[in-house]
């Protein structure tokens, strides 16, 4: 990440860049990381760099809820990823609670924490003393939480919490932009795949109609039944039908994108 002034930045400069012009740096991140994983990886690094101070280094991870299952998708380092995965394995913990209730959760001192006992104990064994979990508000498009771990008890000051929340808020709006871009490009890819598959299926339906002297619905049910009894996808059954008649293996559809 570089500033507009062309000044070379140290790795620590990540934090500085976010401090001076967070919106610009998030925009830059969106442009440089058009995929969600890349963006979240950069986000975790930036969060860790921004909140770490000498003597209290912060590890950051991001957990995303995909199809109702939490998944550790990005982390600033292996330690944070391991902690995220541990928590997801237990199925409960401060970060997952923050994710589910959409509120920031601070565990100032893990040794004094009585909730999430199995996870907390394991986290203490891993050298974690305090945890801050900040949900990313993605307006219903998805759910994600920024997990921050510190090796010091009371490792997050009130100021840190405010700044982590502001950071998460700015990150969330950039993330929503990426989600939109991803959804559009996924939809485009799905449509393109559908066009190809529909051509093959329509041809096979026509072939079955001619062979069996039946109507379209009957032809479809013949193909569907073959697909489910053999546990083969409908379009693969259709492709087999066409290959068996004409020997053609690749039916292509051309359309303008």
């Amino acid at each position: 990440m570089t500033g507009n002034d062309g000044q070379a930045q140290e790795p620590d400069g990540l934090a500085q860049a976010a401090d001076t012009d967070p919106v610009h740096s998030f925009q830059q991140m969106v442009l440089e990381n058009p995929d969600i994983k890349g963006f979240l990886a950069e986000l975790a690094l930036l969060a860790a760099a921004r909140l770490s101070v000498p003597g209290n280094s912060i590890h950051a991870g991001v957990t995303v809820l995909r199809r109702k299952k939490p998944e550790a998708v990005a982390a600033s380092d292996a330690a944070a990823r391991a902690l995220d995965e541990l928590q997801n394995g237990f199925g409960d913990g401060p970060c997952l609670t923050a994710l589910r209730h959409r509120t920031t959760i601070l565990v100032p001192d893990l040794t004094a924490e009585s909730r999430w006992a199995p996870y907390v104990q394991t986290a203490v064994d891993h050298g974690v003393a305090s945890i801050l979990a900040v949900p990313l508000d993605l307006a219903g498009d998805a759910e994600a939480v920024l997990n921050l771990y510190s090796g010091c008890s009371h490792g997050f000051s009130g100021e840190d919490i405010t700044s982590a929340e502001a950071f998460a808020g700015q990150a969330a709006s950039s993330l929503r932009l990426i989600l939109r871009i991803t959804q559009l490009s996924d939809a485009r890819n799905d449509l393109s795949a559908a066009m190809h598959s529909r051509t093959v299926i329509d041809m096979a339906v026509g072939a079955v109609m001619a062979q069996n002297r039946c109507d379209r619905d009957t032809a479809f049910s013949i193909l569907t039944r073959a697909s489910s009894t053999r546990n083969v996808k409908l379009r693969d059954v259709a492709a087999t039908v066409i290959t068996s008649i004409s020997g053609e293996e690749h039916i292509t559809t051309h359309f303008d994108e």
Binding site: D190, L191, A193, S197, R198, D202, R216, R235
Partner: protein, 83 residues
Amino acid sequence: MTADWTRGPDQQLEADEERHGAAERFRDADFPLMKLWTYYYGIGGDVDEVSLDAYLNEALRLPAAQVGLIKTAMTELAGDDDR
């Protein structure tokens, strides 16, 4: 898309039960409607996205052939996810 009026009341009841099952499976699967519709269209489905939405909210009946394709689309999409 009009409902298939040629079926008797028993078949209608059976179809409604099947529709209820499809609606439940769709809610559990948690993939976007657009994704399901596109896949369903790709395997030869004929009804539009709004009708599919209505069907999956148990507000519209569809011909048996379309119901079969919706079921196939859901099964194949769920299989893709597991991989």
